[in-house]
């Protein structure tokens, strides 16, 4: 007796002609949503964790201020001293009146230093701040 493999008569191919289109669509989505990092962070920091966090909806309004483990302050692309903070932030505020300053401060920093920065921000009229934290799970 002869055995024969059963084969379906229909074609068994997945049409791949539209594959590039699909992939390009995905690609476009990622290209549009990607925000490549604009600044190099020069200080090393570890953010504290918190539960009651809010998201900042309007990313355009955010201006970052980093404070590293070694108490160096970074705004934009360069390290600045405490005395310069006021001037820089004031010009930022003039360009963007309702700027939110996101403070990315290392968790080991002393509060004295943090409040010195806050004083400078108050003098520069940057009153909306946000202590950047990780989300505690």
């Amino acid at each position: 007796m002869k055995f024969e493999k059963k084969r379906a008569a229909t074609k068994q191919e997945i049409p791949t002609a539209s594959m590039p289109d699909i992939v390009f669509m995905l690609l476009l989505f990622f290209m549009v949503t990607t925000t490549l990092r604009e600044v190099d962070v020069l200080v090393s920091f570890k953010l504290p964790e918190a539960k009651a966090v809010e998201k900042i909806e309007n990313k355009r309004l955010i201006s970052y201020l980093w404070v590293g483990r070694d108490q160096r302050i970074q705004i934009n692309d360069n390290l600045v001293s405490l005395e310069e903070v006021q001037n820089i932030m004031y010009t930022k505020r003039q360009a963007l009146p309702n700027v939110i300053v996101s403070l990315r401060i290392d968790m080991g920093t002393d509060m004295g230093f943090v409040s010195d920065i806050q004083q400078e921000l108050r003098k520069a009229y940057c009153l909306r701040i946000n202590y950047s934290t990780m989300v505690k799970s």
Binding site: P20, P48, E54, I105, M111, L127, N130
Partner: protein, 176 residues
């Protein structure tokens, strides 16, 4: 007479079979390079800077004073308290003032030492915020049957007026 013939164009085709591969490569690059970092944090509004500070007397039962010393010990209205307990003991005090007018609502004052660790401060602030958020959630559940996030913006505004978050950050004391 010579017959003018149209030149036959040889079929010119670009091989497209590898297009998918190329697109995938690009896709992978963007997948890897994407940083979808959401900015999460604890929002706060600083008071305006004024040269000479006026002091306004605030009645004792409106105030909840949180003091954090340099060792990370926390005092809430003079009693030692562990940080995770803060929200629990603040909640009833916030709740009791929901129906009061705006100038009678609770003010939470946070004061630290200059040597206090930033992380401790954030933990305490987090607890205070948590207390407010939980009160807001519970209140909106009893009133609207939904959580605070699911309310529409009008109802949210109303709730914000009922339960405003007033946190006052006092300047750290100078080390003598």
């Amino acid at each position: 007479m010579a017959v003018i013939q149209k030149k036959k164009i040889k079929s010119a085709e670009i091989p497209t079979s590898s297009m998918a591969d190329i697109a995938f490569l690009l896709l992978l690059f963007f997948l890897v390079a994407t940083v979808i970092d959401v900015d999460t944090g604890i929002g706060l509004s600083l008071p305006e800077f004024v040269e000479d500070v006026e002091t306004v007397e605030v009645s004792k039962d409106r105030m909840a004073a949180v003091l954090i010393n340099e060792n990370g010990d926390v005092l809430l209205d003079g009693n030692i308290i562990a940080i995770p307990q803060i929200s629990k003991s603040l909640k009833p005090r916030i709740e009791s003032k929901i129906e009061l007018p705006a100038n009678k609502k609770l003010i939470v004052s946070v004061k630290t030492d200059r040597k206090t660790n930033y992380n401790r401060y954030i933990q305490a602030l987090d607890q205070i915020k948590l207390a407010y958020f939980e009160v807001r959630d519970e209140y909106s559940l009893t009133r609207f049957g939904r959580k605070y996030i699911n309310l529409n913006s009008e109802e949210q505004e109303e709730l914000k007026e009922k339960i405003p978050i007033t946190i006052s950050i006092a300047e750290p004391e100078k080390v003598k």
